[in-house]
Symmetry: C2
Subunit: 390 residues, 2 copies
């Protein structure tokens, strides 16, 4: 991007790259955040350290509105977002565990694993760390790993709707995953940060929709993509009572200890914002923003398909996974940036299984999306002609 | 406390225990927090993920207002408070390091060390973990360890003004500490969370006031006790460019990597609040709140001294360390709770060196402080007579 801007300072670059939200907070939530900030300036409304696991009302609302009370408030831990929570989960399990990740997947699972010392060497040919099992997820296997080929690991990181592929595991697939974990005595760390983008009632929004999952899975959820809280910072994790170590002791007890020693909870202002998100009015308003992003994604996906590019995901997630078979992701990325001045994300950044793909994000402004798909047309647009003249 | 309330549900308990702030946010800060929340609800004011090390303006203000530009903005990392940051520092250094802590000290240094696996066994007689060097800090050594008796460790945690003793290391003492670290090639992790309570210009507010400290020390600062942000969550750490590993590579590069992999920065709302705190008006207003707490502390200290109890700290920190030689901290705690219905913090909770002391906190409401010292008088107050009747 910097190189392009150097050569062509006039370039109007559109980013469909980083998965960051672009739409303002909804009024109901912004107002509640402001009210709660002002309340902290009053004797009556001031509060200091909050409850260790986060505000009870927020945990009750998450249990009720997002988990239909199949999860209980004391099993929920409020946090400042999924990234930090994944890091703390690494601290919980320590450096002597083995992990499996979807390939491609959100890079933080692997990065935190490497930093914790769970891996040994890096294979520059395979682009894999030893000590990590990469579960290849491609169009050929419907983006769900062939579990019979996967060796046992202590932990299995699984993200659905998936970042970066935008695909969602079906109920049947998650049922297989839960059985697999149960058989192997593995713990699934299920990342449901994009669950609010699922509109198909047949697709599971939570691992706990699968019977028995509460005995094998931790879930990590987030308000970031649900309500534009990428900057405000708020999320949660769930460690059910029924999740036990091999010796029969509950994981939740350890997690409580680590969570409250390595963390002092999310900002009280953000937590009040979370409560507002889960009000009826909040939920209605954020639904419209999610609709907006999903419409962006639909527009991009349709345009790519019209160009003959195979795409995946994008109907229940803000991401489209576009296939460029036989090509290097970074070459495709550079070509799109150079020729169309559109930033995407090279698939190989998500693991070796992402090679040959780029990710398009619908978390953009509509006018940018419309401009971007116009640029993507094979007939030369005026902008493109101008670029070629420079 | 629960036991007392069960026996005597009418008991009006005053807490001078947990070090939590009680005074409302100052108007300048509460208003800025509210404004920044409302701005997030507008197209123009919305922002998602922020800069990896935190808002530049906030880092510039910290460098300028708190460090007189002897620290540069790129050496500052914004965070969500000292507790989480200490945890991330443990992740930076990993489980194979040796550490030294002041004894007594803020329990999080030891707790995170144990969780990381730096320690092996716990000696139930000495109340010490093997693998940790406890630097005894008592009235006899002026609450500064006899460094000539301290073995070399990789890290030295040092908190000044100290929690729990409320004492402050002098410039001469910190100069010794810096030389000691330099000689041993140790890294000091200097916790300055209570520095805003220092009014004596001869006492150092930062380790970087000591020449050469930038080659041996990381500093952790916080807005929690400075501006009542215990619930809002905002702090910073400093890793100077000149702090190098033995192989000559900068610690800062690693820290940047770990900080941005295990953390996604503090809430953008809280960061705007931090900027407001460091405005001229913000600084003036928080000064008054700190004065209020320091006056509380002075009142408590005077009352204790009048009762013939030896006290330490309390003039440059919100804590008073009260000595009860030959007695168990928990017995003293229980006696004060039972007889005076005042909660303190037993010194032994801060390490074996805290045995025989209790901590009184001035972070309370004035009316509670006044009521508490009245109860502490040896003449029986009406409340106390009532208790004895029940």
């Amino acid at each position: 991007k910097q190189a392009l801007l150097k050569r062509n300072p006039e370039a109007k670059i559109i980013s469909l790259g980083v998965g960051d939200t672009t739409q303002p907070l909804v009024p109901h939530v912004a107002e509640r955040l402001a009210q709660s900030a002002l309340a902290l300036g009053t004797t009556k409304g001031y509060s200091g350290y909050g409850p260790e696991q986060g505000e009870l009302l927020l945990r009750e609302k998450i249990a009720h509105k997002l988990y239909h009370n199949c999860i209980r408030p004391h099993e929920i831990f409020i946090n400042d977002g999924a990234k930090s929570e994944v890091g703390r989960l690494q601290v919980l399990f320590g450096r002597d565990v083995t992990i499996a990740v979807q390939d491609p997947s959100y890079p933080v699972y692997v990065d935190t694993s490497v930093i914790m010392g769970q891996t040994r060497s890096y294979d520059t040919k395979l682009h894999q760390y030893s000590g990590i099992t990469y579960m290849l997820s491609t169009p050929e296997n419907g983006f769900f790993p062939q579990l019979q080929e996967v060796p046992r690991t202590d932990l299995i990181y699984f993200c659905s709707p998936n970042n970066p592929t935008g695909t969602v595991a079906t109920r049947k697939q998650l049922t297989q995953l839960v059985s697999f974990a149960k058989k192997n005595r593995s713990i699934i760390i299920f990342d449901s940060a994009y669950a609010p983008y699922i509109r198909d009632p047949n697709l599971p929004r939570s691992i706990y929709e699968i019977p028995g999952a509460n005995e094998v899975a931790i879930e990590v959820g987030s308000f970031s993509k649900m309500a534009g809280f990428t900057g405000v910072r708020l999320g949660w994790s769930i460690v059910p009572d029924d999740l036990l170590y091999d010796d029969g002791t509950p994981v939740r007890t350890d997690w409580h200890r680590i969570h409250s020693t390595f963390f002092n909870n999310a900002s009280n202002i953000a937590q009040q914002g979370g409560i507002a998100i889960l009000d009826e009015m909040g939920l209605q308003q954020i639904e419209q923003v999610i609709d907006y992003y999903l419409e962006n994604t639909r527009i991009i996906k349709e345009a790519l398909e019209d160009l003959g590019i195979s795409t995946y995901g994008g109907s229940s997630a803000p991401y489209i996974w576009a296939a460029f078979p036989g090509r290097k992701s970074w070459d495709v990325f550079e070509e799109i940036l150079e020729n169309k001045q559109i930033i995407t994300t090279p698939g190989s950044g998500f693991g070796p299984g992402g090679e040959g793909f780029v990710r398009f994000s619908g978390l953009a402004r509509r006018e940018e999306v419309v401009e971007a798909i116009e640029r993507l047309q094979p007939t030369k647009s005026r902008t493109e002609q101008l670029i070629q003249l420079t």
